[in-house]
């Protein structure tokens, strides 16, 4: 195995990685979706087990339903602890969205 082969391997991998990351960065800039800023925070506050027990596809699904008002009970989530559910409830009731409305949710 000549050293030039190893060099080509490294160079090609780097080149492909750089091209792909540029494509992804550009795509992220132009294909960004404006979403409710509270949704990401609620997703992080949920246990992130992605078990599907709540009936929504993954934890981000439940967060989306809570933030848009389609789901009122935080304890649809089978995995969440009481304190964390209380934290989410307080967060949603005190933080307004872009129009200044807060959400009323129950445990």
């Amino acid at each position: 195995m000549e050293p030039i082969t190893i060099l080509w391997a490294v160079v090609i991998t780097f080149a492909i990685a750089i091209v792909l990351s540029i494509v992804l960065a550009v795509a992220y800039r132009y294909l960004k979706v404006k979403e409710d800023p509270r949704q990401q925070t609620v997703t992080d506050m949920l246990p992130n087990a992605n078990c599907g027990a709540c009936g929504f596809p993954g934890c981000s699904g439940l967060a989306d339903a809570l933030v848009t008002g389609k789901e009122k009970k935080i304890t649809r989530c089978a995995v969440i602890k009481k304190e964390n559910a209380q934290k989410i409830k307080e967060y949603l009731e005190t933080t307004p969205d872009n129009e200044g409305n807060t959400l009323k949710v129950e445990l």
Binding site: V23, A27, V33, G58
Partner: protein
């Protein structure tokens, strides 16, 4: 033209990626609880397979020129596939938000779908540049075959959910037995095409 249709039908049905190639079983069993999510998964997978198959076929030629094909092809294909899946996720989130919500975490999971990498490895082995119709047919046929099987299986699963399976065979176990029966059908078509 005949070669194109032969390759298309053979990769779609006879060498079906799930039933005859045993690939893509994780998402096959996981996503097919509802036919709407199975439909979305099939569409997303077709998109990813088509582009990654063609790109990996091209990269195969480049790697063979530089004599690094034998040990670099897996790593390079997986880089291409994971970036393409990220790109697909961004596109779906922007243009089809309801589909994005249906798929949930199964969209990033296409990266670990054996169908896509299996297709890339299979297509990378074509050394002749004039085999493009065959490559195109394979790259379209494999995800369409997976799509057909996953739709059928999701309908079967919806029916199995409400039936009275005993002895803890519910869920995946009886689904796999149903898959075995489907595999008999595909096996029987083996010599036709």
């Amino acid at each position: 033209m005949v070669a194109f249709y032969t390759a298309l039908l053979s990769s779609m049905i006879v060498s079906n990626s799930v039933l005859a190639g045993y690939k893509g079983l994780c998402s096959y069993l996981g996503i097919s609880k509802k036919s709407s999510s199975a439909f979305g998964m099939g569409v997303a997978l077709t998109f990813v397979c088509f582009f990654s198959g063609l790109i990996c076929w091209g990269l195969g030629f480049l790697l063979r020129e530089l004599e690094i094909y034998d040990f670099m092809f897996t790593i390079v294909s997986i880089l291409v596939i994971s970036s393409l899946v990220q790109f697909t996720e961004l596109v779906i989130k922007k243009f089809f938000p309801s589909l994005y919500k249906t798929l949930g975490i199964y969209l990033p999971l296409i990266t670990t779908n054996c169908v896509v990498l299996g297709l890339a490895l299979q297509v990378g082995a074509y050394t002749d540049a004039s085999s493009f119709p065959e490559v195109l047919a394979t790259v379209l046929g494999v995800p369409l075959g997976y799509f057909i099987v996953i739709m059928l299986f999701s309908c079967i699963q919806e029916r199995l959910e409400t039936s009275n399976t005993k002895y803890n065979f519910k869920g995946a176990a009886i689904g796999l037995v149903a898959t075995a029966i489907m595999a008999i059908a595909v096996y029987g078509l083996g010599g036709v095409i």
